[in-house]
């Protein structure tokens, strides 16, 4: 666990309702505490981090491995590098918000790449339990965007 790892984890946590995270190594311990229902942890980040800092030599895997989730929670990841937009234009409402019920094929967000607006459609049906990135934030290929509870 070095500064880069911590930064990278923090960046992950920042977009979620995780309020406590404890990790021991190697593979030994893992503790995660989420905010109580209704807690408003999801404040927008004032200075969005531009990209993932290069992982240090000792950092295995990427952000998506940071937490192990229950089987019913799935991630929607970014299909390309670009800028994440939660709505088709600044004036209108976001495609989805936390708590929304979604079905496969429904548009979830837009990734702008090379000035093209690419609509990302959901491959899952369920309930959106987290939006992991901020509006206007650059995202990598494979970066988790939404947490969906597929049981609901």
């Amino acid at each position: 666990m070095n500064i880069k790892d911590i930064k990278s984890l923090y960046r992950f946590i920042k977009g979620t309702d995780i309020v406590e995270l404890e990790i021991e190594g190697p593979d030994g311990k893992f503790r995660l505490k989420r905010a109580e229902q209704g807690g408003g942890v999801l404040a927008p980040s004032p200075a969005p981090v531009v990209m993932q800092a290069a992982p240090a030599l000792e950092a295995p895997g990427g952000v998506s491995e940071a937490g192990k989730m229950p089987d019913n929670v799935k991630l929607v990841t970014s299909p390309m590098v670009g800028t994440f937009y939660s709505a088709p234009s600044p004036e209108v409402d976001p495609f989805v918000e936390i708590g929304a019920t979604i079905s496969a094929g429904q548009p979830l967000c837009i990734i702008e790449a090379m000035k093209l607006m690419n609509e990302v459609e959901s491959e899952l049906s369920g309930k959106v339990i987290e939006i992991l990135v901020d509006n206007g934030q650059p995202v990598e290929y494979g970066e988790p965007l939404f947490m969906v509870d597929v049981k609901k």
């Binding site: 992982p55 990427g62 590098v81």
Partner: protein
Amino acid sequence: MFNKILIANRGEVAVRIIRACKELGIQTVAVYSEADRDSLHTKLADFAICIGPAKGTESYLNISSIISAIEVADAEAVHPGYGFLAENAEFAEVCENCGIKLIGPSSATIRVMGNKVEAKTIAEENKIPVLPWSKRAVADEKEALEFAKEIGFPLLIKASSGGGGKGMKLVHTQASLPSAFHMAKTEAHNAFNDPEVFLERFCELPRHIEIQILADEHGNVIHLGERECSIQRRHQKILEEAPSPFMDEKLRKQMGDASIQLAKAIGYHNAGTVEFLVDKNREFYFMEINTRLQVEHPVTEMITGIDIVKEQIRIAAGKKLPLKQKDVTFTGHSIECRINAEDPKTFLPSPGKITELNMPGGPGVRLDSAVYCNSTVSPHYDSMLGKLIVHAGTRNKAIIRMRRALEEFHIEGVKTNVPLHIDIMKDHDFIDGHIDINFLSRYSTK
């Protein structure tokens, strides 16, 4: 000078470019596929962005992903390395349109030089010697037979958009020309999506010698001497050296002058390599210009003391060349061995996890590598692990040093061609400088 450069490549060349940037005080952005999350270039760059899955077409060859990564990273320039998008005129054009500086020549230069018929035509117009050829693309069998009479047999059918031996056919007799012509067209179409072919006289037992040039954006062009690249297997170089044991001062000046003249004629800028065939009578023939950094650039760096990658970056930033031709001097001899993860007998790639690794070191040894112990050699990309480069006072001393260094190389988990390189270092023909592009084929049947 640039503040931040994105490197649109992977492996040892990405590491090489990161090193140059760090020494120039420029921030680096690596892009990586999912398979390269733990690769050295991903770890060494200041920033790293995942651009797609392992497959090259979906990541390192995906122009829109890379342009997006440049934009989100706010990089001012992009270095394409070699391979992938390095000679892709479309990529260069998109960069130009997006206001991103590509560290290389213009898209127009890349496009023209990517077509061998156009390149040869321009060379001839500039009085650079070329092998007798059909002077244009050959439309049909009938034209082929006509040109063949002028050129004589044996001759080569080559693809206009070709490279790496694909779409190339050697024809010894008129009788076999028609079928070879159609096969070449089909191959060219499949490999390059362009069925255009032309005819060229076949040069027997030539040497492959190339001239490194540097051209700034203010019209100044210099050459950094030649590299001898005759040790090839199936048109893939595996060992290069500088200077060429075949070269003399007069021929170097002739070939260097021809290269500079051609570069000036086409308004070339950035680093480039003019490839020639040289026959046993020391006649040289223009083949093509590689509009990018070459794998084998370090041997030139070792004998000139000039950092070619840094010069590329400075040129792209609009700087003038710091040297004139008379300031370029050559010291000693350098050899590069490409270390590939492959079976030394069958030449089949050997991907896997590197479980033990000892790299050579000591005086006169340079390693440009992208692997480390416990890293994984991916099956998705080419099998080159890195390059072992030596420098010494004379060619003979360089050969001895390379052999010593190769013998220190120890790797487990993947097979490599190190044993083949050791055999080459002991080969009397190689030691005596008796090499041509068939050296390795003769050699492997020994």
